[in-house]
């Protein structure tokens, strides 16, 4: 290899390396299946509730229940389409596919039962940030991505790490 080519090659390699290092935070990490980690139901830290039944959780996610026991409004945050977390929640809690889910919310608004659909979030980080920022908010994320900044609700008395947790 000629010296000038060698220099160019090394220079290019350095740039690629620098680019790769900068890209690391954006590159998705290999994840365990949700069936192993479970989906955690997360709420704002000040939310009075600690434990919900699966039926109660379904009613919250269906917006049939719109207030916490202290009468503050429940703000529902749902992951955008094409995320594993959303697919899992649609299957287990809503028991609907994407089309039925969309139709459900359109009908709900059209019946004047809610003024808006759920708020859409695009990542676990965004979910955490918004749950921390919005009192009364509730959302879901992979249990292995939950931070201390939010509160994890027990579902039917169980946490995601417990045997028999219903969202795992």
């Amino acid at each position: 290899m000629k010296p000038y080519l060698n220099n160019r090659f090394i220079e290019g390699l350095r740039l690629c390396l620098a680019a790769s290092l900068l890209m690391i935070p954006f590159v998705a990490q290999a994840e365990e299946p949700i069936s192993q980690t479970g989906i955690a139901i997360v709420v704002h830290k000040d939310t009075e509730a600690d434990d919900v039944s699966m039926a109660e959780l379904r009613n919250i996610f269906l917006a049939n229940k719109q207030f916490w026991p202290n009468r503050s409004r429940i703000i529902l945050l749902v992951r955008a389409p094409e995320s594993d977390e959303r697919d899992y929640v649609l299957n287990t809690i809503y028991q609907m596919d994407e089309d039925s889910f969309r139709k459900y919310w359109i009908a709900k608004m059209f019946r004047a039962e809610v003024p808006r659909g759920p708020k859409i979030v695009f990542s676990s980080d965004m979910t955490t940030d918004l749950v921390v920022a919005i009192p009364g908010s509730i959302s879901f994320m992979r249990a292995d991505q939950v931070s201390d900044a939010v509160k994890v609700l027990r579902v039917d008395g169980k946490l995601p790490s417990d045997e028999g947790y219903p969202l795992k």
Partner: protein, 362 residues
């Protein structure tokens, strides 16, 4: 590849990532802003276009159904306003109407108080599908709850108290209304006030049991004094009930109503109306999940002695078969065959093809 090209690609990728993060940040700010107490608006629309072919008539052709606009506004944490406006094609014009206008204050899940113009919360269909042809499986409403029906007051103007009792496993909810009764034209609500001073009232109880997700059942009662233009005042009492399995495979809706009418000055002149329908639909699975065959049977029987409705020609029987094709997430095509008999006047067969759609950001 030289360093310039590598650097250009790198900068391009970085720009894409930065713009993606900026878009997410914008969304973040929007959500934060909307979760505060500021006003938030949502606009939707529905529409349908049909082709109808009937036996023994040359009036076959295209029919523009209703074009419906819906505005929902959250004006603060507990005050919401809903408005629904329709444009309906008639022979030589379009008729515009404020179908619903509701201002609702929500104290809690148990107590929501509203005032305005509603679809009377009696039975299932009238408060489940409203004017959205796309929402309902079939091309049209059942005859007993069709728009302009004289059987059930489709609209109601007044105040409504409603709430959910979700602390119980039955999933009980209630609605109770008080307001203007029917207009002298009994197919219309008393939009400009109650014409006889005797207000209408209604109450309906519903349940959606936790253990049977998808099942809804309800029982309601409606009472009014009606003052038609061409006869004395009539006491009206209506009981309605329904059972609905709202999952799509299958979808089952059964609804009935029983009305009693009697002259206020002579209760011996009285009569009853019985009306019901049963609808069955089934969304197919897997590759055929866009298809949903359906069938419905309807029956309405008005006593000859009924002082309010005996001469309105409301006896009706119909059998309906059809299939719905959801070819797009926001639009459906329905093909429907109907065999109908009005007031014992002989059967009429017709075929309808309907395109219905929703305009929504969801």
């Amino acid at each position: 590849m030289n360093n310039r090209i590598i650097a250009t690609i790198f900068l391009f990728v970085l720009l894409l990532l930065v713009s993606a993060r900026k878009a997410t940040a914008q969304n973040y700010d929007e959500i934060l802003s909307s979760a505060s107490s500021g006003p938030e608006f949502m606009v939707m629309g529905f529409g349908d276009i049909s082709y109808v072919s009937r036996d023994g008539t040359d009036q076959d052709g295209f029919v523009i159904g209703q074009a419906v606009g819906h505005l929902a506004a959250s004006l603060g944490h507990s005050l919401n306003v809903f408005a629904e406006v329709s444009a309906t094609g008639k022979d030589s014009e379009y008729v515009f109407e404020v179908e619903r206008l509701i201002a609702k204050y929500e104290f809690s899940d148990l107590l929501k108080l509203s005032a305005g113009r509603y679809h009377t919360p009696m039975g299932y269909w009238n408060s489940a599908f409203h004017h959205g042809a796309w929402l309902q499986t079939t091309t049209s409403r059942p005859e007993m709850v069709k728009f302009g029906s004289k059987l059930l007051p489709i609209h109601f103007v007044g105040v409504l108290l409603e709430g959910n009792l979700h602390s119980n496993k039955l999933g009980l909810s209630y609605s109770a209304g008080f307001g203007n009764g029917r207009h002298a034209n009994i197919a219309r609500a008393g939009d400009a006030g109650d014409i006889n001073g005797d207000k209408a009232w209604m109450v309906q109880l519903q349940m959606a049991p936790d253990g049977l997700y998808g099942l809804k059942a309800g029982l309601g009662f409606y009472s009014d004094e009606v003052s038609p233009t061409d006869r004395p005042d009539i006491k009206e009492s209506t009981v309605s009930g329904f059972l609905a399995w709202t999952r799509e495979s299958p979808e089952i809706i059964v609804e009935f109503l029983h009305s009693s009418h009697e002259y206020l000055f002579d209760s011996s002149v009285s009569g009853d109306v019985n009306a019901w329908y049963a609808q069955f639909a089934y969304r197919l699975k897997d590759d055929l999940s866009a298809w949903k065959p359906y069938a419905r049977y309807e029956d309405t029987d008005v006593d000859d002695s009924d002082p309010l409705l005996f001469d309105q020609g409301l006896d009706y029987q119909a059998g309906i078969l059809g299939v719905r094709w959801d070819f797009n997430p926001y639009a459906a095509l329905k093909a429907e065959y109907r065999s109908e008999e009005y007031d014992n006047g002989g059967r009429e067969n017709n075929f309808r093809l309907q395109l219905s759609f929703v305009l929504s950001k969801l």
